[in-house]
Amino acid sequence: MWVSLMIPQSFRHLCDRSTMFVKNAIVLRKSLSIAASPKLTAYCLIVMLCIVISGTVYETSHGLLAAREHFFESWFSLALGVIPFPGIKLIAFVLLINLLFQALRFLKFPLKNSGLIIIHCGVLMLLAGALLASKMAHDYILPLGIGETSNTVMNFGDDELVIHSANGHDAADTFTDTVIPVEKLRNGKSVIVGDITLIIDTIHKFKNGTNNDNARNSLEIVMSYSAICQSASGNQLIVNSMAPAQKILCNDRTILVEVRPVTKNLPVSFTLKDFTKQLHQGTQTLKHVESQVVISGDNFKRDAVITMNKPLRYKNYTFYQSSYSEHQGKTYASFSVVYNPYKITPYIASLTIISGGLLHAILMIIAGKRKRRIICDAQ
């Protein structure tokens, strides 16, 4: 106490600040040390292993879309439904940071490590590309019957609430009023269409009960609206993603409310001219499928053929032969439409990893030979 009395006030401040700085520096150093720790890499890989195993098992009972949502494309997931557990995105992000810091802290840059450095650059690129693609890339489905033309594609992984309306009681000639992605809907959110207000009461999500990989999970939205309008269920409306649009008649206006897969209009339209499929005789195994299409935009129109392993590319869109079906004597071909502006990233990353691996192998062989020669000379 007496010592503190003897020290001038300004000096004491300086001491406190420097102690704080040292403390902060220690914390920072510790944080950096953790961020660059090889142990963190090991823990991340172990957690990733657990997520991949759990997600794969989950996929068998809940389908691919649900597994992607809960494990593979999430920041967090719930283990056993209650325990918070990191998702693949979080682990990939932590690994990205960890790799960067490890590279700065541990990697020396002599020639012998150049292969390893290139490999890790490739891994970084792959992780960064995957994170970017998960944000920017979208998958759609374009179903077309022979002779049909369309530029409307659907994403069965995500739903949207759509409200159409029409003047009078004829629902045939409607125009789309409002489109809201389902993930942006919250209980109590209100949607105003003309002079009526729809208020969302509850949103139920139902898991599909099948093992079908791409089967959609059913979604039900209960909404209430102003009592002056009429519908089959009073002033309440239940919209289900598996059911047709619900109708409200209100002040000489028809309102149709539906939940549908996210729908998008492409900058080009597609016409399916012909579709042929061939099975191996006596089996259900597909031998060959081929779609002859016409792709047309503002100033161009061209014929193209899409077969298995030979997609059609247009700008950042790629059109793949996905499946086919027959309904009431008409054949429908389904095309998978992928929009991915970072499509090239995995190619570059893969090339980088493989070339890094080759370089490292060559350098190891040369180093091994040199070492052996030195041992021989010494003997």
Binding site: P38, K39, T41, A42, L45, I46, M48, L49, V52, I53, G55, T56, V57, E59, T60, G63, L64, A67, R68, F72, A130, A137, D139, N211, D213, Q278, L279, H280, Q281, G282, T283, T285, L286, K287, H288, V289, M308, N309, K310, P311, T318, Y320, S322, S336, V337, V338, N340, K343, P346, Y347, S350, I353, I354, G357, A361
Partner: protein, 627 residues
Amino acid sequence: MMHNKKGMGRFLICSVILGILCISSVQSVSAIEFVDINKTANIVVFDDGREKPLDTYARKKLIQFSGRKTINGMSANVWLLKLMFNPSEIDTVEVFRITNPEVLDAIGIQGPPKRRYRYVELYPVIDKIESIAVNASKKEPTELLLFERDVLQLWLTMQEYNGLGAAFSAFDQFDEFSVHDSSLAEALQLEIHKAYSYGDIVKRSTVLSRYMRGINSEKLDSLSSTDAEVVRVVRSMYGICNQMENRPPFLVYSERGSSGNHWYSLWSFLCNNGADAFNDKRCSGFVALRNAYVNNDRKAFLNAAQQLSLQKFHGSQNPGIEVWYNKVNLMFFAKILLGISVILVLSSIFSSSGVCRKCSFLLVIVSAVLQGAALFMRILIQLRPPLASLYETFIFVAWVIVIIGLIYEILMRNSNGTLIASFGGFLFLFISGRYVVNGDTFGIIAAVLNSGFWLTTHIVTISIGYAGCLIAGILGHMYLIQRVRNTDKKRLDTTDTAVYLFLLVGLGFTVTGTVLGGLWADQAWGRFWGWDPKENGALLIIIWLTLIVHSRKSRLIGPELTSAGAVAGVIMVMLAWVGVNLLGVGLHSYGFTYSGLGMLIGVSLFEVVFIGITLSLAAIIRRRADR
């Protein structure tokens, strides 16, 4: 006298030889023997979506029915031809395998249980079999009791057997095809009241058509006796065609039909083409073959067999190679040699015997050549890389392990390479046998796999990656055993270096293979990565190997845990290779299997117990040494 005796003896010997020669020459002129029937092995038939030699088809059917490749001294080919040409000869052969005693109780078969039953034993209870099978077929597959599933299988097998037995029944005489009207008989140039075959009648179908054109379909009740007889015969023809059409075997190739299908059963071809069918080389060839067999005319039989064998088809350019592949069974011999090599190399390690070491090395070389030849033959037969099924990946990985083991042995000369090659090769050839679908190791390729470049690069690379991991696993076992046995440090270090090296090889090739798979998926399905179970399987291996390699490099783990990790890597490889295929979901549906769960559990348990025991013993040894 002595001279006479000698002369007599010579005369007797000459007579016996001459007699034998005469008998054999007489036999060779008239009777058809098994060896002659086997000349039909190269004839191409169509089954399961591909053109294949009759030999492969026969083997597949016999294995499906009886679980055997030969029966009662008959090759599968002989058995099938006899069944098709004269079923009564085969009906008394024990062919139908019934292993479940509940099935015998359910269908009412009395007496001590046997492994196989004759058709004539099952025929009296066919009604019972049918009623159980019909009830079972109404249930969901998951609801079926074991005996119901087996009875249903037996019923389907009997149906197939009947189908094969009736393949040439168009040339058997039936009462339905006897003509009871004298003027019609005269017009058709047939004997009245005599039973004829469908083939006999269909040859005269132009005459019947002429009659039919004159018949007014609205006045069927007031037909003349000749017209009524024509209508009866034609109805019989339609009736039998409805029953017999589209049943395998598909023997006749024709491009006449408008559908994309070009292979027909003999019945289908006759029913669709009428008298014209006999102008077809293929159809008439089979008719000639069957008639020669029934009439026991060896020369005609061999001639017909040769003519049919000479006909080539696009999907089976080299049926002879496939027949040879089936007969020689190189993979089986390679497996036996590797099995012997395992014993020899183990005895060489424990007894330090140089002879055993050299012999085992030699056997592995021979085995590698046999495996390589077999794989090359598969390429020639299928005209594509032999990597489109689980069976093919297993035999390929077995070969890669043998080759890498040999190279390792040549470089290190410490028996480890021979042990890896012989043990790994034998084990995976043994496991491959579980994945032979219906006795036919060749299969059709799904449209998505129909890309020579990607199939070769992706699957070859990933298979080498699997092989690298498995070799690291085998070496991991060796390291842990050596550690427990307190082997000298130099030897331990050599094994440890090898474990680490092969982990790197496994990681490198698995990453490259997965990346190539991603590029292929991007080409075929529109995305580089889609979290499909098979993709996740490959990712499991990559994560596991990365974990071990990084941990080792960062000195988080030592040689013991690296080896334990390599051993656990075997579980990861089996999960990725077989385990995810058992899940039955995802886009890699061409690889789905229902076999291997037991093996997977067994391998996993064994490896976990092995790691547990060896690491514990190693820890005890270390503690003792520290004291």
